[in-house]
């Protein structure tokens, strides 16, 4: 992860973006190739490893665990909902700069952004972490209107008591630019890979319930609402133009970064500016539009890839062949 760049390099990259030839020959809206594999970590409910050709390497794992529901003490909101908890960690092995506390700010920035986009309740990112606002009973009725897509009600086992908690953990193993997009691609792939065991709830009367987790590995549920999960596109403004999938050197030249989260129907699920520059309002609107179309294309292609892999695995399993994952013994 370079941290220094010379003025001449900066000027060369800036002018290159202007005339639509980037340092590695790509044009402004070109992505590098993405290498994706799901189901790479056996201990998880679902996992995916995403690599972008230049080096970015992200491992996303989803772990489904059972825990108590989190109820807002004032309004009773959240009693019938499961939870999603996101965390991002940059491994020190990925870059010297992530060593010690070096990655804390970056981890926090991405974690907060992920929570805001994926954890469903609209105000939840602010209520769940710090309770600056208190939810109201009406929020409970706005079930699937949150940006994250995942249906939290389906993750509830016994209302008011037990629910599934999905821990989405992203581990950055190598850095080659464009972390955010890679993390969201990985998250989508990992959620698609996730299988949640079925549960059986018994009513003991008196408002007492008991449940049993069925241990049949074949008969499991996918995460409901996963198709509506958003993906994000990071647009880097360099000069008067914007590029996608920036390389580390291009990120150093970036004046302003806009992260656009969008779902498959083209709704915007989050928007955040980063870095220390400004954007003219007209360009901002143009970038939002661009991010929206780009995101929809990305989702379509990503879903095709995920489905193809899932189908191939299923076919193998039906033929009775073992499903081998390449995992880390691959390039």
């Amino acid at each position: 992860m370079p941290s220094l760049i010379s003025p001449a390099e900066r000027d060369y990259i800036l002018k290159g973006v202007e005339c639509n030839i980037r340092a590695d020959g790509r044009q402004r809206p070109d992505y590098r190739e993405v290498i994706l594999e799901t189901g790479v970590v056996s201990q998880t409910s679902g996992s995916a490893r995403v690599r972008i050709a230049g080096g970015t390497d992200v491992l996303v794992s989803v772990k489904a665990e059972i825990g108590p529901v989190q109820v807002d003490p004032e309004t009773g909101d959240g009693a019938d909902k499961g939870q999603i908890i996101c965390s991002v960690e940059c491994a020190p092995s990925a870059s010297q700069q992530f060593e010690g506390r070096g990655a804390d700010d970056l981890n926090n920035e991405i974690t907060q952004m992920m929570s805001r986009i994926l954890c469903n309740n609209t105000t939840s990112s602010y209520t769940s972490t710090a309770a600056s606002t208190t939810g109201s009973s009406t929020t409970a009725s706005r079930q699937s209107s949150g940006p994250g897509g995942i249906n939290l009600q389906k993750l509830c086992i016994i209302p008011g008591q037990q629910c599934w908690i999905l821990y989405i953990d992203a581990l950055i193993l190598d850095y080659g630019g464009n972390l955010m997009d890679a993390i969201f691609m990985g998250t989508r792939a990992a959620i698609f890979d996730t299988r949640i065991p079925k549960t059986e709830v018994q009513d003991l009367g008196d408002g007492q319930f008991e449940f049993e987790v069925l241990d049949d590995a074949e008969d499991t549920d996918p995460v409901e609402g996963r198709e509506d999960m958003p993906i994000c596109i990071t647009l880097n403004k360099i000069g008067a133009c914007h590029i996608v999938d920036a390389s580390p050197l291009e990120e150093l030249c970036t004046e302003a970064r806009l992260v656009v989260a969008v779902n498959r129907s083209g709704q915007l699920c989050g928007l955040q500016k980063g870095q220390e520059g400004g954007i003219e309002p007209s360009l901002l609107l143009e970038m939002i539009q661009f991010g929206k179309t780009m995101g929809q294309t990305l989702i379509k292609q990503l879903d095709t890839k995920i489905k193809a892999e899932a189908d191939a695995d299923l076919a193998k399993r039906q033929r009775g062949e073992p499903v081998h994952k390449l995992g880390f013994f691959a390039q």
Partner: protein, 322 residues
């Protein structure tokens, strides 16, 4: 709208890649026996290349002298690094494959200024310690040879700033092993008009010249430390260099779209060769460039095409040799 390509990973070693084309079901994990046999096969087929790992006995003949990367125990010469055995007469040394840059005096290197200190700059050379560029080892502006003054000391940042890229020559070593480098020649100095890339230092071989002008109108500096500078061609006439311009940060105005495309293409060719761990020199880069012309520039980031270009370039070099 551009397409985004998604791929599945492929197995890492090249011989299992060849197999995977035929039968995809059970080739993914090589078992240990297979691995050992394939290693043995490799070493037997390429008898000229002797690859060793740390602790491996290179020879039991006590007549040999130990060089870099080896040690002696019980009158046997053992390797202390993973790499290739070099034998010069009675001297045995092991050259590690993946290592940081180990320099020698006279090497042409490309470095990045990391710090401006008292009368000196610290320069990142991809070696184990930052190299030192003394203020007295650079050409001062306004006349090639003049004494340094106090005013020069105060405006060192006007010459080289943190982040600047320089091409220089290794001048000497300090007692702690740090390099002292100099730019006291007009071919050395600040780098402009191009882009920077990094390969493994072992891939750049010592040649007669490390400054090349390729036929496609691209200048190339192959730093022995694995840092490479690809830039637009600037006609060099050493007699008419404007000494005031040596430290300028401005790129030249007339870098055309064709220039940029050629630079990107050359840079991608080098990346393709480095990805396959092939020695990099101007000949093979020229061949790779020719091989790349049949592909669109933006496709050159794709792994498959990179592999194709590298293979074609290697074939072309072998054809030329015989």
């Amino acid at each position: 709208m551009s397409e985004i390509a998604f791929y599945s990973p492929v197995p890492r070693s090249s011989n299992s890649k060849a197999k995977s084309k035929g039968n995809h079901s059970n080739d993914n994990d090589m078992d240990l026996d297979e691995m050992i046999s394939s290693v043995a096969k490799n070493s037997s087929t390429s008898a000229t290349l002797h690859v060793v790992t740390p602790g491996e006995v290179i020879t039991t003949d006590s007549a040999y002298m130990r060089g870099h990367g080896t040690y002696v125990e019980n009158e046997k010469v053992l390797s202390s690094v993973a790499g290739v055995v070099d034998r010069v007469n009675k001297l045995i040394s092991v050259r590690p494959l993946h290592t940081r840059y180990n320099g020698e005096i006279g090497d042409v290197v490309v470095g990045r200024i990391t710090e401006v200190a008292q009368k000196r700059w610290k320069v990142d050379l991809n070696s184990r310690s930052d190299a030192i560029l003394m203020l007295s080892s650079v050409n001062l502006p306004g006349g090639v040879q003049r004494r340094k003054q106090e005013s020069d000391e105060l405006q060192m940042r006007n010459f080289f700033m943190e982040g600047d890229l320089v091409v220089a020559e290794v001048q000497s070593f300090f007692t702690d092993g740090a390099y002292s480098i100099h730019t006291r020649s007009l071919k050395y100095g600040k780098l402009r008009n191009g882009s920077f890339l990094e390969v493994a230092p072992a891939l750049v071989q010592r040649c007669k010249s490390h400054f090349h002008s390729l036929a496609c109108g691209v200048d190339l500096i192959l730093g022995l430390n694995g840092y490479i500078w690809v830039s637009a061609h600037v006609p060099q006439n050493l007699d008419e260099i404007d000494t005031e311009q040596v430290y300028s940060n401005k790129n030249k105005e007339d870098i055309t779209v064709q220039d940029r495309e050629a630079i990107a293409r050359v840079a991608n060719c080098i990346r393709a060769l480095a990805a396959e761990f092939i020695f990099i020199n101007d000949t093979i880069i020229s061949f790779a460039y020719e091989a790349s012309l049949q592909h669109k520039l933006k496709d050159m980031t794709k792994k498959e095409i990179m592999h194709q270009i590298a293979t074609e370039a290697v074939d072309a070099v072998e054809n030329m040799k015989g």
